[in-house]
C-alpha cells in the first residue's frame, strides 16, 4: 500500500498556527487537544549572536491526514490553509525526493494509533 505523509519546511514555518486551528475546525477537536501542534524551539541566542527559532508543526496521534478530504482530491486542511505554504501532502516517495532537494525539512508519516 502507498504511504502518504506531510513534508514540513520548517525553515519557513512562521508559527501562525493556522494548521492547528484548521485541523480543529475540520475535525471538531475541543480545546486542550490537537490533531497537529506546533513545537516551538526558541528564540535562543547562539554564540554568533544569531537566534535559533524553529517552529515545527507536528501531527499528533489524532491525525488521519484528512482522509475524507484527500479522497475528494483536496489538500489536508492544515496544508490548504498554511499561511507560509511550508507544508506539502503527498506520497512518501514524492516527498522524499523533495526532501533531498531542500534542507531544513522534516517528513512525517502519521497514522492514528492505539495502544
Amino acid at each position: 500500500m502507498t504511504a502518504y505523509g506531510l513534508l514540513i519546511d520548517y525553515e519557513y514555518c512562521s508559527g501562525c498556527q493556522s494548521c492547528e486551528v484548521a485541523c480543529k475546525e475540520e475535525h471538531k477537536i475541543p480545546v486542550g487537544q490537537w490533531g497537529i501542534r506546533i513545537l516551538d524551539d526558541g528564540p535562543w541566542e547562539c554564540t554568533d549572536g544569531k537566534f535559533n527559532w524553529n517552529k515545527i508543526p507536528t501531527p499528533t496521534r489524532l491525525c488521519d491526514l484528512c482522509a475524507e478530504r484527500t479522497a475528494k482530491g483536496k489538500q489536508p486542511s492544515c496544508v490548504h490553509h498554511c499561511l507560509t505554504g511550508c507544508m506539502q501532502y503527498g506520497t512518501v516517495e514524492e516527498l522524499a525526493k523533495e526532501l533531498e532537494e531542500k534542507p531544513n525539512q522534516v517528513l512525517f508519516v502519521p497514522k492514528p494509533y492505539q495502544y
Partner: protein, 779 residues
C-alpha cells in the same frame, strides 16, 4: 497559478457560488467583523439547506491569499454562532448604565430614538456636541469621519488613541512630504502574473522597520507575501527591538532601543549621502531640499546614533550600505513609527531613504497610489457648512492633524470630556461608539479617565458592535448589532485604497438574528438624520456602488468577479506620467512637485522642515531619576495571530493560543527580580499600573520589557465596576495622556518606562470555563 507547492487546486475556476455535496458554497473576500485590516482574504462559506454555516475554508482562487487563511477567519463559525453574540437591537435606561438590564427592541425603534436624540442635541447644544468615536481595522474604522459628518451631521469624529498613534501619523507624513497616501512595499498584488508578472521585479531586500506584518496584515498588506518573496530570493533586514520570527530569518537585525528610530534613520541617511551611495538622477530630478537634508543628517554621525540607539556603529554603516546597494529595496514601515512623539520625523527619514535610493514607485520598491484611485475621505464634510466645519475640535491648535483626517484632536477631546460643561469651547453631550472597544486597552491612553469622563458627562450614547463590550456596557443607552463578513454584501478595498491592489466582494451567505453591516446602518440611519447626503441613492446597493466603487462598477458585477485586481491602476514611475497629481502634470503632489526632503508643509505648520531626533519624554536618558524608580523601558502592543486588538477573547480556539496577557522579560532581568516564567507580575509606570503574566524570554533585551494590549475577559462579571475585569490587565493605563508631537501626532505607546514587581496572586485563565461558556454549544 501556483504560488507555493501545497496550494489547493480542487476548486480553481469555480464561479462565485456553486454546490458541493448538498452544500451551497459562496466565494467572497473577508472583511469585518471579525476585525482585521482590509486585506480581503479569499474565503469559501459552506451553507446547508437550513441556511446554516457549516464551515469556512480559504479560497484558492484568490490571487493574493491562494487559499491560505489565518486563525481569525478559520474560526468565523465560532464567532458567528457564539452564545455571547448580540443578535438584536437593545435599549437600556441611563440609570442602568453598567448593568446588564438590556431589553430587545426593533430597528425602527432604535433608529427613531437615535434620530430624535440627534435632533435634540443639535437643537439644544449644537451638532458639535455629538461625539462619534470609532475604532480601527473593522469596516467601520475608516468610515468614522463619514459616520460623523455624513450620517449624523457633527464635525466631531474622534479616533481616541492619544496622538492618533496608528497609521495616520505615517499617512500625514507621506501626504506632506510625498503628496501620496502611503508608500507600501510592492508585492505585485495588483498584477495578474503576481511575482512572475513581467512588470514586477523581485526586491533584493525587504526591510521590516517597526513592523511585524505576518500576524497583523497591517493596513491591508497580506504579510505573508513577504515569505513568498523571501522564498523566491529576497533577503530580509529587521529593525526592531524585539526578536520575532521574521528577524531570525533576516540577514541583518538592528535591535535598537525603543523610540530611537529617527536617530537611526538620520545616521543611515548620513552614511548613504556622505558615501555618495544615493541615486543621483532621482535626487536631482525629483527631490527637493537634498542639500539641507545632507547638512542636517551630518549632525547625526553613526557613533552618536549608535550610542542613542544602543547599537554598534559598524552595524548601522553596514545596514545603510546594504540598503543603498540593493536594487530594488523596499521598506515595510510599521505602527512603531506612529507610537512616539518623534515618529513623524522617523517617518520622514524613512521616506527620505526610499527617495534618495530611487526606490519610490519602481517595481519591487515602494508602491504609491494613482491620484485617481483615492480614499473616500470627505464624504458629507462639505454639507456641514463652514460654521460647523470651523467647530471641529483642535482645528486651530493642530491643523496638520485635524484638517487632514477630519478628526477632532483626540487628546483635546478627553480634556473637553473631563471638563464637561466647563470645556474650553463647548461641552460634548451625546456619544457614539462605532466598532470600538477602546476602554479595553486598545486605542486610548488612560482608558479609566475616558471611562469616568464619558459615564459622567455624556448624557446619551449608542454603540454599534457584534459583542457587548466593556466600552458599550459602561456607557450606552442603545446597542445596534453588527452582522459579520459572511452576513452582508459590501466591498473591501485593500490598503484603505492607498495602493492599487484589489477590490473584493464581501458576499453574503447567511442570515443570523437581526443584524446589519456598517455600510447598511450608515445608509439607513443617514437617511433619517442627514437625508441630504443619502436621498440621492435609490437603494443600499446604489449607495455601495458610489461609496465603495465610485460607480466604476456595480456591486452585482463585483460579486461575480469576487476579486478585482486593479490592473488598470497599476503602473510604476507615475511621477513621470502625471498620475500622481490632480492637474495631470508630472511630479509629486506636493507644493514643489518633488519629494520634499525639506518639507515646506512642515515648515508651514510651524514644525521643523527637516528630520530631527528627540528622546522619548520618559527614558533612561531624559529622566534618569524617574528611571531609577521605573528601571525598565516599556514597549507595548506587538501583534498576535489570534487576536485583532481586543477582539477574539471569547473564541475558544483563539483564546487557547494566548489565554492571558503576557509581558516579555529577559531571563537575566527575571532572575534579578525573582520572577519565574509564567508568574504574574505588576507593571507600573508614573501614570498607572496593571497585572500581567511574565514570559521569560530572550525575545527582549535586558532592560526592556514588552507587554500585550487589548485584554478583557468576557467570561467574567459583565457589570460595573468589573466590566469583564477590564481594568485588571489594561496596559494602556500605564500610557500618559497628551504627550504628543508638535503636530499633535504620536504618543509613547512603544517607548515608556515602568517597574516590574513579582506578585503571589495567580490570574490564569481557566480554559475549560471558556470552553463551557463559548465553545461547546457551537461545536
Amino acid at each position: 497559478m501556483k504560488i507555493f507547492k501545497g496550494q489547493g487546486t480542487a476548486d480553481l475556476g469555480k464561479p462565485w457560488r456553486f454546490e458541493e455535496d448538498g452544500l451551497t458554497v459562496t466565494r467572497g473576500c473577508a472583511w469585518s467583523p471579525p476585525g482585521c485590516h482590509p486585506t480581503g482574504c479569499g474565503i469559501k462559506t459552506y451553507v446547508n439547506a437550513e441556511g446554516e454555516l457549516v464551515k469556512i475554508e480559504g479560497d484558492e482562487n484568490h490571487p493574493i491569499t491562494n487559499g491560505r487563511l489565518c486563525v481569525r477567519c478559520l474560526t468565523i463559525r465560532d464567532y458567528v454562532y457564539n452564545p455571547d453574540r448580540v443578535l438584536y437591537p437593545m435599549k437600556r435606561a441611563r440609570e442602568d448604565r453598567g448593568k446588564n438590564k438590556w431589553e430587545r427592541i426593533t430597528w425602527d425603534e432604535a433608529y427613531d430614538t437615535i434620530a430624535e436624540k440627534v435632533a435634540y442635541y443639535k437643537e439644544n447644544y449644537g451638532a458639535e456636541s455629538i461625539l462619534v468615536m470609532g475604532g480601527t481595522g473593522r469596516e467601520g474604522g475608516p468610515m468614522l469621519p463619514a459616520y460623523a459628518h455624513a450620517c449624523l451631521g457633527t464635525p466631531n469624529a474622534c479616533y481616541t488613541q492619544s496622538g492618533y498613534s496608528c497609521y495616520i501619523p505615517r499617512v500625514a507624513g507621506t501626504t506632506y512630504v510625498m503628496g501620496a497616501t502611503y508608500p507600501e512595499m510592492d508585492y505585485a498584488g495588483g498584477l495578474p502574473g503576481r511575482y512572475d508578472d513581467p512588470m514586477f521585479k523581485l526586491p533584493e531586500l525587504i526591510v521590516f522597520w517597526g513592523k511585524e506584518p505576518l500576524p497583523s496584515n497591517g493596513d491591508g498588506l497580506f504579510g505573508h507575501a513577504a515569505i513568498d518573496m523571501m522564498r523566491r530570493g529576497s533577503k530580509l533586514m529587521s529593525i526592531d527591538p524585539r526578536v520575532n520570527w521574521v528577524s531570525t530569518r533576516a540577514d541583518w537585525h538592528l535591535r535598537l532601543r525603543p523610540g530611537t528610530d529617527a536617530a537611526l534613520g538620520m545616521a543611515m541617511l548620513n552614511v548613504i549621502i556622505s558615501e555618495k551611495l544615493y541615486d543621483e538622477e532621482f535626487v536631482t530630478k525629483w527631490c527637493y531640499g537634498f542639500e539641507q537634508l545632507a547638512e542636517r543628517v551630518a549632525t547625526m554621525p553613526v557613533e552618536k546614533a549608535a550610542e542613542i540607539c544602543d547599537l554598534k556603529a559598524e552595524d548601522i554603516v553596514e545596514a545603510a550600505r546594504v540598503y543603498a546597494a540593493a536594487k530594488p529595496a523596499q521598506i515595510a514601515w510599521g505602527l512603531a513609527i506612529d507610537q512616539k512623539s518623534n515618529g513623524v520625523q522617523a517617518g520622514h527619514c524613512i521616506m527620505a531613504l526610499e527617495a534618495i535610493t530611487g526606490n519610490i514607485d519602481v517595481p519591487g520598491g515602494q508602491l504609491i497610489g494613482d491620484v485617481n484611485d483615492g480614499l473616500e475621505l470627505g464624504f458629507g464634510w462639505n454639507n456641514l457648512g463652514p460654521e460647523l466645519q470651523s467647530k471641529i475640535l483642535g482645528i486651530k491648535e493642530y491643523p496638520a492633524y485635524v484638517a487632514l483626517v477630519l478628526n477632532a484632536q483626540c487628546d483635546m477631546v478627553l480634556d473637553a470630556l473631563e471638563a464637561g460643561d466647563d470645556a474650553q469651547y463647548y461641552p460634548f453631550k451625546m456619544g457614539v461608539f462605532e466598532d470600538t472597544n477602546f476602554l479595553a486597552g486598545t486605542c486610548a491612553a488612560q482608558p479609566k479617565r475616558w471611562h469616568d469622563a464619558m459615564v459622567k458627562n455624556l448624557e446619551w450614547c449608542f454603540g454599534i458592535d457584534v459583542w457587548m463590550t466593556p466600552t458599550i456596557q459602561a456607557t450606552c443607552e442603545i446597542f445596534l448589532p453588527l452582522s459579520t463578513t459572511v452576513e452582508h454584501d459590501t466591498v473591501v478595498y485593500t490598503h484603505y485604497g492607498a495602493s492599487p491592489i484589489m477590490a473584493g466582494a464581501v458576499n453574503k451567505a447567511i442570515t443570523v438574528g437581526d443584524c446589519k453591516g456598517d455600510c447598511e446602518i450608515m445608509y439607513e440611519l443617514g437617511m433619517r438624520c442627514m437625508p441630504i447626503n443619502f436621498e440621492k441613492y435609490k437603494d443600499y446597493y446604489d449607495f455601495l456602488a458610489d461609496y465603495r466603487l465610485a460607480y466604476k462598477k456595480t456591486f452585482e458585477e463585483l460579486r461575480e468577479e469576487v476579486v478585482h485586481q486593479k490592473t488598470e491602476m497599476c503602473g510604476y514611475k507615475k511621477y513621470e506620467t502625471g498620475r500622481l497629481r490632480p492637474d495631470g502634470q508630472p511630479g509629486f503632489n506636493t507644493p514643489t512637485g518633488r519629494v520634499e526632503l525639506y518639507s515646506t508643509m512642515f515648515r508651514q505648520f510651524g514644525e521643523d522642515p527637516l528630520p530631527y531626533y528627540m528622546e522619548p519624554q520618559l527614558s533612561p536618558v531624559s529622566t534618569p531619576e524617574e528611571f531609577e524608580k521605573y528601571p525598565f523601558v516599556l514597549t507595548t502592543g506587538a501583534r498576535t495571530y489570534c487576536y485583532f486588538h481586543s477582539e477574539g477573547k471569547q473564541i475558544p480556539y483563539l483564546r487557547e493560543m494566548n489565554p492571558d496577557p503576557l509581558i516579555e522579560i529577559n531571563p537575566a532581568d527575571a532572575l534579578k527580580l525573582g520572577v519565574a516564567d509564567g508568574q504574574w507580575v505588576e507593571a507600573e509606570s508614573p501614570f498607572g499600573k496593571c497585572v500581567l503574566k511574565a514570559k521569560v524570554s530572550q525575545i527582549v533585551k535586558p532592560g526592556v520589557v514588552h507587554a500585550q494590549h487589548g485584554f478583557w475577559f468576557p467570561e467574567k462579571d459583565a457589570e460595573e465596576p468589573s466590566l469583564y475585569e477590564v481594568w485588571r490587565s489594561n496596559i494602556n493605563e500605564l500610557i500618559p495622556h497628551f504627550m504628543v508631537g508638535k503636530l499633535g501626532f504620536g504618543a509613547p505607546f512603544k517607548c515608556l518606562i515602568c517597574s516590574i514587581k513579582p506578585i503571589a496572586e495567580n490570574y490564569d485563565t481557566d480554559m475549560m470555563e471558556v470552553w463551557d461558556r463559548f465553545g461547546k454549544l457551537v461545536i
